[in-house]
């Protein structure tokens, strides 16, 4: 018996063509995806060692001489498979705008200040229980040109590998109670409401550290290894 992965996992994901998000118009395939047999090439995937990440990589407020401007936050959660089992030792990469809604990137021309004390990128590896934790500052909203008066809700980009080629995930974490979510075509591209809600972190008093920072909890569910094996 070989462990294979259920393909229904795709149903929680947005469609490639979602015209409310204009950039999908010329970048989404015309043809349906080809279903292929899952082989060793898909059931394996890149493995990162814990040694590739330094302890300060997960604290985005301590990467420069002084503290960045903005509201300090702690973002923590667990990476789990679809059966609720932890995904240990997997790399998370995050990136985000600064408190004013500006990225350190040459393409970002938003008229908001850069912060010399904030790069906006971090990495960490999950522990044996699948837990991760970042310290950062709350990102600002920023305008984009998708439609008139378009604003991206504050978000943090997450990139994860998981245990196989199939579990690769790039997503965005949003903040609770944000009125911009109801207007954001990227957030709304996820068709299923329950799946959309999973992209919104929750304020968490347990993660909140007294006299230091508010805490947000964001659990990430990767489909892949540990999926109910099917005989083949």
């Amino acid at each position: 018996m070989t462990a294979t992965y259920p393909q229904e996992a795709l149903s929680a994901h947005p469609p490639y063509r979602h015209l409310a998000y204009g950039s999908t118009a010329k970048r989404s395939p015309d043809h349906p995806l080809v279903v292929i047999p899952q082989t060793l090439s898909e059931l394996t995937g890149p493995v990162y060692g814990r040694d590739s990440v330094a302890p300060d990589d997960s604290d985005l407020t301590r990467q420069h001489k002084a503290a960045p401007i903005g509201e300090r936050i702690i973002v923590s959660g667990r990476v789990l498979d679809q059966d609720g089992r932890p995904v240990p030792d997997t790399l998370l990469e995050v990136w985000q705008a600064n408190a004013a809604g500006r990225y350190i990137h040459k393409v970002d021309q938003h008229d908001a200040p850069l912060d010399p004390n904030f790069t906006g990128s971090g990495r960490c590896v999950t522990d044996a229980e699948g837990r991760y934790r970042f310290i950062s500052i709350k990102p600002g909203a920023y305008p984009w040109r998708n439609h008139p008066n378009a604003w991206r809700p504050p978000h943090i980009h997450f990139s994860l590998f998981g245990p196989s080629f199939l579990t690769r995930l790039v997503t965005q974490m949003y903040f609770p109670g944000d009125p911009l979510l109801a207007l954001d075509p990227i957030y709304l591209s996820v068709p299923d409401e329950a799946a959309r809600r999973r992209l919104v972190s929750s304020f968490d008093i347990e993660t909140t550290q007294p006299e230091f920072a508010l805490g947000y909890r964001f659990d990430i569910i990767l489909w892949g290894r540990g999926a109910t094996p099917m005989e083949n």
Binding site: Y5, Q7, L10, A12, H13, P14, Y16, H18, Y21, S23, A25, K26, R27, S28, P29, D30, H31, P32, L33, V34, V35, I36, P37, T39, L40, S41, E42, L43, T44, P46, V47, L80, Q82, D83, W95, Q96, H105, V107, T119, G120, H157, S159, F165, L166, R168, L169, V170, T171, Q172, I186, Y187, S189, D192, A194, A195, L199, I220, I221, L222, W223
Partner: protein, 191 residues
């Protein structure tokens, strides 16, 4: 079962968090075993315009046909200098370039070998979920003919899109363009 976390686009600013220049050279500065090869090409959109803000990742077996992963239990030699994972960004002309090792063949379904190939993942602004495809080598016609994944593609023209064409150079180079949409659209997989 828990609802999976949905994919969202990498957006235009992924370089802030995902830049790893060392991942363009999978040979570990030439220390990996096997024949060094170059995979290069261009990413284009549905109007044939270059995609200057794509991120491409590749995953492949070593020269002996073994993946650096615990699920690969084949009795083949591992290579401590070859992880098999690469990542590059396209430039303003939509071009990319990896230096890697020619992969050995790995098993497919049952005992039959698959043709040597490299798995590729495409991320970009405007892609709400990454796209998955495979790079095969056009000069391995007999192996490609018998490959179970290539055989799953009915349209011969779509099959052709997965064949990297040899470029006359040293080290051996292959050209593999990625067309996201329209004429010559690359075959993408539901895995």
């Amino acid at each position: 079962m828990l609802i999976p976390t949905a994919s969202q686009t990498v957006g235009p600013f992924f370089a802030v968090g995902l830049t790893r220049p060392e991942l363009a050279d999978l040979t570990h500065a030439g220390k990996a075993k096997g024949e060094a090869i170059v995979i290069e090409g261009q990413v284009r959109d549905g109007e044939g315009a270059p995609v200057p803000d794509a991120m491409l990742e590749i995953w492949q077996a070593n020269a002996a046909g073994k993946y650096a992963h615990p699920e690969d239990r084949q009795e083949k030699p591992a290579d401590a200098n070859f992880v098999g994972f690469g990542r590059v960004f396209t430039d303003r002309q939509g071009r990319y370039r990896f230096v890697t090792i020619r992969p050995g063949a790995v098993p497919g379904c049952g005992n039959a070998l698959q043709a040597p190939h490299i798995a590729m993942t495409v991320f970009a602004r405007g892609l709400l979920k990454h796209l998955v495809t495979r790079i095969y080598f056009a000069d391995l016609a007999a192996a490609n003919e018998a490959d179970p994944v290539l055989s799953a593609i009915d349209d011969p023209a779509a099959r052709q899109t997965l064949l990297a064409k040899p470029v006359n150079s040293t080290p051996s180079a292959y050209r593999f363009d990625v067309v996201l949409q329209g004429e010559g659209e690359t075959a993408f997989f539901d895995v």
